[in-house]
């Protein structure tokens, strides 16, 4: 709890919290604007891509925030006070990811209301799962950015951007089967998943994101445990 408040305050002072909260909204606004000019094609793919970019940038913000925590000595100040390193890196993953998820959810709902559905009006549950599923990739991306940030202080922004962008780009390139991969939420948003299965696909995507985030977080924590502060 104390650590969570500390992370929120750090993010707020660094203005990164503002970035995390505003990125999805800006992405949605851009998508809606572009969509308005090019309707009815290309559907809601624009919004999916805009959200993917926002997710990458959010992850980079989280990664650089954590790197700054290490560089400034704040991380070591906490570690000598018996804060386990795993808890510290866990707080830096969970707290900003949660803030990003809330922002994505709000932006997704606003964009969903602004952009007409491609075929038929989906039910509210589908919208909620679609929005959460599209926001969920931020968590593994953030975990990846943390892992990069642990090791590569100084060049974390560039490395985290490339790394997280690669994670997003792989499923975007492999469009063939959008059923099960962490970025399936984007397809839900874009209305590209098969009709009748959006909830299943969304839940699968969320689960996969959380599993991937766990693996990446463990990797990041392992690297952080061996790092000199």
């Amino acid at each position: 709890m104390i650590l969570g408040v500390h992370v929120i305050r750090q993010l707020w002072i660094q203005l990164r919290l503002l970035g995390l909260l505003s990125l999805p909204v800006v992405a949605a606004l851009i998508a809606v604007t572009v969509e308005g000019q090019s309707a009815p094609e290309p559907g809601r793919l624009t919004l999916a891509i805009a959200f993917a970019v926002a997710a990458v940038l959010s992850a980079v913000l989280i990664g650089t925030g954590f790197t700054e925590e290490i560089r400034s000595g704040a991380a070591s100040w906490l570690v000598v006070r018996a804060i386990p390193r795993t808890a510290l890196i866990g707080a830096w993953l969970a707290v900003p990811s949660l803030a990003a998820l809330v922002a994505f959810a709000l932006a997704g709902i606003l964009a969903g209301l602004a952009i007409p559905p491609p075929v038929a009006q989906p039910d509210p549950l589908t919208i909620v799962i679609g929005v959460v599923a599209s926001a969920a990739p931020t968590i593994p991306l953030a975990a990846l950015a943390l892992a990069v940030g642990v090791r590569a202080s100084g060049r974390v922004t560039a490395l985290a951007t490339v790394g997280t962008a690669a994670v997003v780009a792989v499923p975007l390139v492999l469009v063939g089967d959008a059923a099960i991969h962490p970025a399936s939420g984007y397809w839900l948003i874009a209305g590209m998943v098969p009709a009748g299965r959006p909830i299943t696909v969304g839940l699968q995507s969320i689960g996969l994101c959380l599993a991937l985030a766990s693996v990446l977080w463990l990797w990041a924590a392992r690297r952080f445990a061996r790092r000199d502060l």
Binding site: H6, Q10, G73, W77, V80, A82, I83, R226, D228, L229
Partner: protein, 261 residues
């Protein structure tokens, strides 16, 4: 718990007479960039000692203290501080029994001195009315009362350093590790602040400038070639008419006083 708390410990006449070991390091080694900065350090320091740790390689003492504090890893060896063995996990009671202040204060500069001390107290598990009382006393002792609510970034580096020392002392640790502390302070202020209270508290100071630590330490440790080349009472330097400097400590080490406790 491996040993009792300081008060309970020192209430025993036998403990007062025997002066138990507060710091025990054995076989500590760490290679950085292909260079063995620490290569089998063995060191035992009695409770209540004030120890200067210097090294021919100026990075070695700092690295030793950072390993002891859990900020850097050792390639091998063990460290026991105040009876607590720190390995991968952090022993219970660590935050209240071990304090560390680095050359960089480390406290987020947007915090005020009062906020920093409050966070330090919370993390040490100090709750209730005792917390505020300790914070107020600490602010007063370190002359931070007038700027208690001013962000550290506007208060200056010396205030940040002083706050870091106050935060480290707040939980009344048994062992205090100081890595090049208070360098932004003028020497007289620095010496005054580094006369750490607590007869039974063990204090280690890593310093690149041993001559500046005169008057605040009673023992000296010299690390040479990654090992403890000298561990002696400071009176030995005086007895041999040697200055408190790297050169003086090296000369004393060459006289064969290695490992004196």
């Amino acid at each position: 718990m491996p040993i009792s708390t300081p008060d309970a410990l020192w209430s025993s006449p036998a403990a007062r007479r025997l002066r138990p070991v507060a710091i025990e390091i054995s076989g500590l080694a760490r290679t950085v960039g292909g260079e063995a900065l620490l290569d089998g350090v063995d060191l035992a320091i009695s409770a209540g000692a004030r120890v200067l740790v210097a090294g021919l390689d100026p990075n070695a003492p700092s690295l030793l203290l950072r390993i002891m504090a859990g900020l850097a890893r050792a390639d091998r060896g063990t460290v026991v501080l105040a009876g607590l063995l720190r390995e991968a996990s952090i022993p219970e009671g660590w935050a209240r029994r071990i304090g560390f202040v680095g050359a960089d204060p480390g406290i987020p500069l947007w915090m005020t001195p009062a906020e920093s001390l409050d966070l330090a107290a919370r993390l040490a598990g100090i709750d209730g009315p005792q917390r505020q009382r300790l914070i107020d006393t600490s602010l007063q002792n370190f002359q931070l009362g007038a700027i208690r609510d001013r962000p550290l970034r506007h208060a200056g580096r010396n205030i940040a350093e002083r706050t870091a020392l106050a935060a480290a002392l707040l939980p009344d640790p048994e062992v205090l590790l100081l890595d090049e502390p208070l360098r932004a302070h003028p020497p007289p202020d620095r010496l005054r602040l580094l006369r750490i209270p607590g007869e039974h508290r063990t204090v280690l100071i890593a310093s690149r400038f041993p001559a500046q630590e005169g008057g605040i330490v009673d023992r000296v440790v010299l690390i040479r070639d990654g090992r403890v080349a000298l561990h002696a009472p400071i009176e030995e330097l005086d007895a041999q008419r040697l200055p408190l400097s790297l050169r003086g400590m090296t000369a004393l080490a060459d006289l064969g006083l290695v490992g004196q406790q």
